[in-house]
């Protein structure tokens, strides 16, 4: 009986009592949009917002994966290079298969992307957990490896997708469903699945437990190795999904694809309210964080206040202010 009471008492708190950490990023997002509107009314035009949210999709999808890794106390610096590597492999595979399989090369290529992504993530995970190497160093290593592989595969130039596939694949980035650009739908779907895993499944609890306190988690019978390896594998899958959406945008992979994405991803996760030291992850906050980053960049171009030489600096200031608003509004 008491157990029943307890569980009903905890539940509403977890589901309905939304804290500032959850709302903070969205408040920042709305404030930013208002400022944007005051600066330039074009900012809130459907086309502009559509463009900005669509292109934040890659970072958002990858950052959802990073929410798992960071919430369980890990870090993955290799995501940008991994995205470029998966993009390269996918395009090479599709081009090879296009003459024989025709349009079927596209879904087949997507499957290859997912498999490669899972494998890359698994590798990162095993190096960190079984190999017991600091995540920072381990993924710094794989970051170099993936970057070198894409440079090698492209001879330093670019790997363009076959002309015959280009138009058929284009809608995955540029297409819409019910008026909403597909990448937005895909990132919302990814975030929805992720929040289900993180908040409704046992694995999500384990993740937060491992990130919050490794020793306590171990004494509670949670396998640290398994939990973290799975988180990195999820990260790999997310990178693959982002890569699938990325390929049709410019139709090519180059050695500069995805450069510094890892920093944007980590920034999005932290703006979203997930602590870098691990613990509870905030999937929707992460998505808002990714959109915020892209909005700031968009705002810089749409406003005329900032000299082109100072754009990066002002972006940095805005990010810090956004974090401070969150901190003090608690």
């Amino acid at each position: 009986m008491t157990i029943m009471v307890n569980s009903t008492a905890i539940r509403p708190e977890r589901e309905w009592n939304i804290g500032w950490t959850d709302v903070g990023p969205f408040v920042a997002l709305i404030v930013l949009m208002l400022i944007g509107f005051l600066i330039n009314p074009d900012f809130l035009s459907a086309t502009n917002l559509g463009n900005v949210i669509t292109r934040s999709a890659f970072i958002a999808i990858i950052a959802v994966g990073a929410t798992f890794v960071i919430s369980c106390g890990g870090l993955d610096l290799s995501v940008g290079s991994m995205a470029a590597f998966i993009t390269g492999i996918t395009i090479l595979f599709m081009n090879r298969m296009a003459p024989d399989w025709g349009m079927m090369a596209i879904p087949a290529g997507m499957m290859v992307a997912i498999v490669v992504g899972l494998f890359c993530g698994l590798m990162n995970g095993l190096i960190v957990t079984i190999g017991r190497i600091e995540p920072f160093i381990a993924t710094l290593g794989t970051m170099g490896i993936f970057r070198a592989l894409i440079t090698y595969m492209s001879d330093g130039g670019s790997i363009p997708i076959d002309r015959s596939l280009r138009d058929a694949y284009r809608p995955v980035y540029f297409g819409t469903f019910a008026g909403i650009p597909l990448p937005i739908i895909i990132s919302v779907a990814v975030a929805a699945v992720a929040s289900f895993i993180l908040y409704k499944m046992k694995y999500g609890r384990k993740c937060a437990a491992v990130g919050a306190n490794e020793d306590v988690a171990r004494y509670s019978g949670i396998s640290i190795i398994k939990t973290r390896t799975i988180a990195y594998t999820i990260q790999g899958a997310c990178v693959a999904i982002a890569a699938i959406c990325y390929v049709p945008r410019l139709g090519a992979a180059t050695p500069t694809t995805g450069v510094l994405w890892e920093l944007q991803v980590i920034t999005a996760v932290v703006i979203g309210g997930t602590a870098l030291r691990g613990g509870k992850g905030h999937v929707w906050g992460t998505v808002a964080g990714a959109v915020i980053l892209e909005l700031i960049a968009n705002l810089m171009v749409l406003s005329d206040f900032v000299s082109e030489y100072l754009v990066a600096g002002v972006q940095g200031v805005i990010i810090i202010i956004a974090m401070l608003i969150q901190r003090f509004s608690k």
Binding site: G156, N298, L302
Partner: protein, 316 residues
């Protein structure tokens, strides 16, 4: 380009030497260049290797060695390794940075090696025997001249800059000086770091911000690819011209095909490394005098001459 002229010069020289019938040791020409990490350096590596292959086949008494380095420090080490192993007759170098490479190249020079510097100058110009580079100011100027002609001297432009460097500054300066006294108006100018993705985003933002744009100048072809994709997506019809620069094969192909939006291209060709290698070999093999400074112009690539700049096998 005058590559064929140099081949001819080198060939004549070779005949002269062959007359002396000296079966001396092989002359060693080392080529030190950055590793391929983006389109343009990939082109440098491709053309350097092509030149080495051609020269090694044509002149049995010359050996061209190509060494790529991923960083300035690695290039310094590469120079030490190259010059320690044997006596270099000539060194063709595209330095990563001027500051770090000046002293090491001087050390090679002091050992009696002919020094050819390509593209980026050293801090001490007295070290080089031959300096060969493209003309970044002309890249900007010639693009601007074409735009002025094509748009009838007036219109709204947006410009995408690369990474803040001398190269970028010179191109922008050449462009701005050329349009100064016309009614062409630069609505906006921002950095996109010579990156297709950033250029795509920036162009989307330009399109959202300005209802009427007549022409776009991307100052580099990687960025132009992103620009074209953003314009295509917007479905806007007001943009008459979208021009790049550097001579990427995809863009040169567009020029060959008579593309309406990108009818011309301005070269800053990575193939210049080939010119430099051939000139150096001409000096060594044929005693052709080459000491001095060579500045390749940036003539407009049009449909008529585009084939000369089209390298379908090159990665760039």
């Amino acid at each position: 380009m005058s590559t064929t002229k140099w081949i001819a010069a080198a060939a004549v020289g070779a005949l002269l030497i062959a007359g002396q019938a000296v079966a001396a040791d092989k002359k060693v020409v080392a080529v030190s260049i950055p590793a391929a990490d983006h389109g343009w350096t990939a082109g440098i590596v491709y053309h350097a290797q092509a030149a080495a292959k051609e020269i090694n086949a044509a002149f049995p008494n010359v050996e061209v060695i190509v060494k790529t380095s991923p960083s300035a420090t690695a290039q310094v080490s590469a120079l030490e390794d190259l010059s320690a192993a044997r006596k270099l007759d000539a060194l063709v170098i595209l330095p990563y940075t001027s500051e770090e490479l000046t002293t090491p190249v001087k050390a090679v020079k002091d050992a009696g090696t002919f020094i050819t510097v390509v593209d980026r100058g050293l801090n001490d110009p007295s070290i080089q025997d031959l300096y060969l580079a493209g003309d970044n100011i002309a890249v900007g100027r010639n693009t601007a001249k074409f735009m002025i002609d094509k748009l009838g001297g007036k219109g709204n432009l947006v410009v995408l800059r690369g990474i803040p460097t001398v190269i970028d500054d010179e191109r922008i300066k050449g462009f701005q000086d050329a349009i100064q006294d016309t009614d062409l108006k630069v609505l906006d100018i921002q950095y996109a770091n010579w990156n297709s993705d950033e250029a795509f985003k920036l162009m989307q933002d330009y399109l959202a911000k300005y209802p009427h744009i007549d022409a776009v100048w991307a100052n580099d072809d990687d960025m132009l690819l992103g620009v074209l994709e953003a314009v295509k997506q917007s479905g806007r019809k007001d943009i008459k011209l979208a021009l790049g620069g550097n001579g990427m094969k995809d863009i040169v192909k567009k020029v060959i095909d008579g593309d309406a939006m990108t009818p011309v291209e301005t070269p800053y060709p990575p193939a210049m490394i080939k010119t430099a290698i051939y000139m150096t070999v001409a000096n060594i093999v044929g005693q052709a005098p080459v000491r001095g400074t060579v500045k390749l112009d940036a003539p407009l690539i049009t449909q008529e001459n585009a084939k000369e700049y089209y390298f379908p096998d090159s990665p760039f």
